[in-house]
């Protein structure tokens, strides 16, 4: 299936990710810019971050991120500025809000429920087998008789 994925990523092939010309002179700012770009989605690609994508749009967003950082924005402010411009769809990490509660809380709840459920199921099975009524004296002697018959 990877080849289909590659198909969708086509847009990203005209060029490669981050261009040297985009880089900021201040290395600390550049590191922050790279971290932020890694978590922003290139809107015209499938699941590629703008840090990885070679699309023109990704280039524009990378420059925009660097502009904001140079202007003195914090990381959060910068990301918010990008979201204001392009919508929450750019966030590779979906925000935690009522619409995404299922997404974020579903997996941990599932694990806990799965483990607890399995444990209870095992306990119940063992308890059920412990309830088994032992054979009565009459049954035992009859069983012995049958066994002897079999051996002979």
């Amino acid at each position: 299936m990877r080849f289909l994925c590659a198909l969708m990523l086509l847009v990203g092939f005209a060029a490669h990710a981050v261009e040297p010309s985009e880089r900021l002179a201040n290395p600390a700012l550049e590191v922050r810019a790279r971290t932020i770009s890694g978590e922003l989605r290139c809107l015209v690609c499938q699941n590629e971050s703008i840090d990885e994508s070679g699309a023109d749009l990704a280039h524009d967003i990378r420059l925009f991120v660097r502009e904001r950082l140079t202007a003195g924005d914090t990381d959060t402010q910068t990301i918010q500025a990008v979201v204001n411009r392009y919508g929450a769809f750019v966030l590779l990490k979906p925000p935690v809000e009522p619409a995404t509660y299922v997404l974020w809380y579903g997996p941990p709840i599932l694990v806990v429920a799965g483990l607890v459920g399995t444990f209870l199921w095992l306990r119940r099975r063992q308890a059920a087998s412990a309830d088994t009524v032992p054979l009565s004296a009459e049954e035992t002697s009859r069983l012995d008789g049958l066994m002897r018959e079999n051996d002979g």
Binding site: M1, R2, F3, L4, C5, A6, L7, M8, L9, L10, G12, F13, A14, A15, H16, A17, V18, E19, P20, S21, E39, R41, Q46, N47, E48, S49, E52, G54, G87, A88, F89, V90, L91, L92, K93, P94, A99, T100, V102, L103, W104, G106, P107, P108, L110, V111, G114, L115, T118, F119, L122, R123, R125, Q126, S129
Partner: protein, 662 residues
């Protein structure tokens, strides 16, 4: 002419599949041996027919028959022969034909290698396979026919997407599809067992080799896809949590759970109904994956709505197959009585934990892949669910999982001694602690999580070796005895050891990817970049003609401390037909780390953007996957599964190692 033959063969295959799905089923119900035997002949004929139609399409591609619409859309006379052949499945119609071809291959394999199956079970299994084939043959013939013609012929074709013109296309899709479709056998076995109402150790023993084989193929297929992405994309990423990747990863996760739960059915005659459910879900997820990729629903929910024919058809197939099998399960499963009891701390308990974690992990991937589509479809906000989500949800589930893989095989069946097992793993504690300390010291100031990941890998590696050493009683009995035990150990035991070692190797690769370095510079010929002790000098860039492209080929001299290491040749290829440029990276590996070079754009002054990456342990990701698949293959070669092996009971007692299972 040959194209028509292929077309007719496919239509005939549909009718054969219809017979295959009905006659043996009725025969099994009425205990009519002759009718049951029809299944076998149909499966073999069906395979012959689909193979014929596959070959016919290949013929059209190789001879560049431009009266076939599919060839016009995806081929070109200048295309190298390899891509004329592999291009057959580099498009929607052709890849569906490959899908059906693999399905018929599996059915034929079941027909050939099932002499030890009761005839009724075999008939039902083949009938279920026939039903799946019927559905997909109808899909191809009605909505995605690769044999449609046009007249007059086109002067030439549109060519294959340059990205797909890579040897990866020859191997990745066939392996992936073999894995996907191979799970249909387990599915067919599960449905047949539900119809019969009987699941026992023998059943588990029959299904297991098929599950193992498909799992191996899927493992190789996914690993190849990941490697292909790695060397193609130009920045060294190897997994993107892309919906298309997730589509193949979900069946792998549940398939892995299935392999483990079927062990419990075989050894302890319990967890039957759960195992049946897993078999159904595994193949259902393969179908869901096909739907996701083939319906266009991924690009956008609305794209699906504008061209709904294919999507609706697959959705319908999905509902019938999944809904039908689950309904059957709901009716018949309660009748399956669970057998052997076991304590939570036991080998069975460990395998159940594996199943819970793998299933939850799969559910997480499912949620992350489909929730955005669901939200979009019901008019909610548009979301992207990317790697940060999966890193925060999927990864934490895998940590306890990997830890447990080290302990589980040390526990006894029924009731295990956890404390004892943990004591016997002392070597693993030392290995973990040493690895963490050394990694922390060497990479001081680097990512801490990666250090823990390496520790996890060391833990698993050492624990697996400890388990193996215990099994052959190394250092407890004379060495000669240990060697003899090792020789007589069943292949399935070796299989498990290899598969788990492979996981450890891959985990190290995943963890160490956090240590990758990059250097991106604009170089003039003669300029150089330094990375990880290497000096890379761009000597010159030449324009070289290729078969259907022109390449800018860079010659880069790599030195280490002044000493010559190698010459590397990253390229940029321009395909005039599609007006597209692709990158061809150059990778130098010493199996411990990759030196990865990609050539970027050139500017008007003749300077080139060069990207260099140093990626420690990255080859281990795929080496680990190959070791895992090798483990599966070794386990597959265990004589227990072989045809006729069932009647071998007396010889078994002669083996000196008792209870040596998984």
């Amino acid at each position: 002419m040959i194209t028509e033959l292929g077309h007719f063969a496919l239509i005939l295959a549909l009718f054969v599949a219809m017979i295959q799905s009905t006659v043996p089923m009725i025969g099994a119900a009425r205990r009519h041996l002759g009718w049951m035997a029809v299944g076998r002949s149909c499966a073999l004929i069906g395979f012959g027919l689909t193979a014929l139609s596959m070959l016919a399409l290949m013929h059209a591609y190789v001879t560049s028959d431009f009266t076939v619409i599919n060839v016009i859309a995806n081929s070109h006379t200048d295309k190298p022969l390899l891509y004329k052949i592999t291009g057959v499945w580099g498009n929607h119609e052709g890849s569906m034909l490959l899908w059906v071809f693999m399905l018929s291959l599996c059915a034929a394999a079941v027909a050939l290698f099932s002499d030890n199956l009761p005839p009724a079970l075999r008939a039902r299994v083949l009938a279920v396979q026939g039903m799946i084939a019927t559905g997909f043959l109808l899909f191809i013939l009605l909505t995605s026919n690769p044999f449609l013609r046009t007249f007059p012929p086109a002067p030439n074709g549109n060519g294959l997407n340059p990205v797909l013109q890579d040897p990866g296309l020859a191997f990745h899709p066939p392996f992936l599809y073999l894995g996907y479709v191979g799970f249909s056998v387990a599915f067919a076995f599960a449905v047949a067992a539900l119809i019969e109402g009987r699941v026992d150790a023998a059943w588990a023993r029959w299904v297991r080799p098929w599950t193992l084989a498909s799992w191996c193929a899927l493992t190789v297929g996914i690993a190849m896809g990941s490697w292909w992405a790695y060397y193609t994309l130009g920045w060294g990423g190897w997994w993107f949590w892309d919906p298309v990747e997730n589509a193949s990863f979900m069946p792998w996760l549940v398939g892995t759970a299935l392999i483990h739960s079927s062990i419990v059915v075989e050894k302890r005659d319990t967890l039957k109904s759960w195992t049946i459910l897993l078999a159904i879900i595994t193949f259902s997820l393969s179908l869901v994956g096909t739907f996701l990729v083939r319906s266009g629903v991924l690009t956008s929910v609305h794209a699906f709505a504008t061209d709904p024919q294919r999507g609706t058809f697959i959705l319908l197939l999905l509902i019938v197959a999944i809904g039908g099998s689950l309904a059957l399960y709901a009716i018949r499963a309660p009748a399956l009585k669970g057998g052997g009891l076991f304590a939570p701390i036991s080998r069975e308990g460990a395998l159940v934990l594996n199943n819970v974690l793998l299933s939850c992990a799969c559910a997480t991937v499912f949620l992350g892949t489909l929730y955005p589509l669901f939200l979009d479809a019901v008019g909610g906000p548009k979301l992207s669910v990317g790697f940060p989500f999966f890193n925060r949800t999927f990864a934490p589930m895998m940590v306890p999982m990997v830890i447990a893989v080290g302990v589980g095989p040390m526990l006894a069946w029924k009731r295990g001694d956890l404390l004892g097992a943990l004591q016997r793993l002392w070597v693993a504690y030392i290995a973990t602690a040493l690895t963490v300390l050394v990694a922390f010291y060497v990479t001081y100031g680097g990512p801490v999580l990666a250090v823990l990941g390496l520790g996890l890998s060391a833990w698993l590696f050492a624990a697996v070796l400890t388990e193996f050493a215990e099994r052959i009683r190394l250092f407890r009995v004379p060495l000669g005895d240990s060697v003899r035990r090792a020789i007589h150990l069943p292949r399935s035991a070796y299989g498990m050891t290899f598969a788990h070692l492979g996981l450890a190797v891959s985990v190290a690769g995943f963890a160490a990817s956090a240590y990758a370095h990059e250097a991106i510079e604009i170089l003039k010929p003669g300029g150089s970049i330094a990375i990880a002790g290497y000096q890379l000098t761009l000597e010159h860039v030449d324009r070289i003609p290729g078969p259907n492209y022109t390449a800018d080929d860079a010659t880069i001299r790599v030195t280490n401390g002044g000493e010559f290491v190698t010459m590397m040749h990253p390229e940029r290829r321009f395909f005039p037909l599609q007006q597209q440029t692709t990158g061809e990276t150059a990778i130098r590996t010493n199996l411990l780390a990759d030196l990865y070079v990609a050539l970027g754009d050139s500017d008007t002054a003749g300077d080139w953007t060069v990207r260099v990456y140093w990626k420690p342990l990255v080859p281990w990701i795929w080496m680990g996957a190959i070791i895992m698949a090798f483990g599966g293959a070794v386990s597959l070669s265990d004589r227990r599964w072989r045809v006729g092996a069932a009647a071998r009971g007396s010889r078994r007692e002669a083996q000196p190692v008792p209870a040596a299972g998984e």
